[in-house]
Amino acid sequence: MPHPLPLPPEDRALSPHTGWTRAHWEAAADRLLAAVRPYAGPADALINLPGTRPSWSGRRSDGLEGYARTFLLAAIRVAGADGDDPTGLLERYAAGLDAGTRTPTAERDLADGDLTSWGAVTDRGQPMVEAASVAIGLRLTRRWLWDRLDPAVQERAGAWLAQALHRQPVDNNWWLFPFTVGGFLAEVGIDTGAANAAIDRGLERIDRWYLGDGWYTDGRPRAIDHYNGWALHLYPALHAHLAADPALTARYGGRLHAYLADYSRLFDRTGAPVHQGRSLSYRFASAAPLWAGALLGTTPLAPGTTRRLASGALRYFLDRGAVDEHGLLTLGWHGPYPPIVQPYSGPASPYWASGGFLGLLLPPDHPVWTDPETPSPAETADAVTPLPAPGWLVQSTAADGLVRLHNHGSDDQPADGPVADNPLYSRLAHSTRTGPNTAAGDNHFALLLDGEPTERGPITPRGAGRAGAAAWAASSHRPRHAGAELPGVTVTSLTVVHGADEVRVHRVHGAAPGTAVREGGWAVTGSAPATAVAGAHARVTGDDGLHTELRALHGWSAATAVPAPGGTAFGPPPPSPTCTAPSPGP
């Protein structure tokens, strides 16, 4: 699908996999920045992108988000060009910084007629998030922007940023926002005591969440998702790089190195990252940790593989409707897709993807730009990779370049009591070409009580490993119904994979004899899917030849293909293969 960002011709000699080079990244950045320009408010302080609804933080915060997240992109673009700024990007963002910080306000909307003031940074308020992007932007462009500001503006902007050092973040990756603000303010000598304390606090906090082998949980006991890459690794790595701190580089670069060895397996040959977890509208922010490894010199990936993966992700989304007819990033995966949009997201939220442009900080003669692209792990050979720390099992096949992520360890459930399942976490499996369909119960094992499926709730990982050419991962959970655990009932689940195939085994303890159970297979999408059901075997072929099968092996009485109304982030409604059976009992 052609996209509305005019880009240079492909270079298949340098980039045989994607055709894209540094020139494409520069052009994409320029086009994205030009597209938001018409939506800048007075004095360029707020950038108010159009949208059907504001975020839960209100329109003023959304406008600040528009400023901050695109400033990050502008800063990377200008810093990566060693200050060359032919369109005057930094001049406009400097003006916005001046105007926005004059009279910080608690007013959430813009109805009071004040169209320039930024929101004050408050406990757990969205401006704290945006302060981090502003701080990185200022740190990256210090020579060309901050150092040239009037001292009064420096003082005012510094005071606005410093609020973040003294406010309470949400207890997850948000601790890295004061950390990031602290990194800049310590460098420029503002509130240095609090700035350094915020750095120490941020690192101490994420150290608590380190699971080992390069993986973090994002605050909650088992919230493992893309925030690993685009936050928990990115911010410490960027700080270590900008501070030129050897100890931090060794510690956090070492973790990033381990992470990238696994993470690089989660990209499809199409360029798609795995579709799992929250904030998926950030799309090619998934490239940020790849570049961070190269920036820090702590990556297991060849330079040509780093670019192949990063350019693949950028191109995947731009080719599939991520940008609308006005050149604006939309809230969704390919194009707009409201079911994956969190209430905290506003029209400018997708510009978190700016971090994906981090590679532009590497000079044009760096091997990540000059080496020919080399294949990604998923297109090199069939692979099954157990990841015990997150409780995952990664399965990829070279013939189609498809990546499947079998989930026995991430649930995003809070420590203080379960909440309703989020299908972007609770599924038994996720992939680079499918998304969950809530109604179909795809990739979900459930007991059926009064016809209603149970939820998975908190997941207890039970290990992951290899078994010859196969690999496995296991978990247990206590099924939930109507907001409560079923007393005395436990399900232990095992996934074993080999090649393109998987076996799923479930043992149900404690359920009443005869309790019905159901398991869904993968939900593919398609406007005219081909469905075949025969006995214990259901098959559906959707768009692009994507094919899903589910076959009852033991204990099931029937297989079928059920409607999946609403479709998924990947396309229109398909039927989804499903097995059903009365349980064999406790």
Binding site: G468, T492, L494, H498, D501, V503, H506, G545
Partner: protein, 48 residues
């Protein structure tokens, strides 16, 4: 005990039929014969 075989693929090459996949389950072990005739044998996790 319940077991299914699943497959998600866009392979341009025909794969051995999923119908050729077989499992043998006991209370403590699963033995799998994959469609390409390779085999796997794993202990089942005990109940927590």
């Amino acid at each position: 005990m319940l077991a299914t075989a699943a497959r998600l693929t866009a392979s341009p090459h025909p794969l051995p039929p999923l119908a050729d996949l077989a499992v043998a389950l006991t209370a403590h072990e699963v033995a799998i014969t994959w469609p390409d005739a390779t085999t796997s044998r794993l202990a089942l996790p005990s109940a927590p």
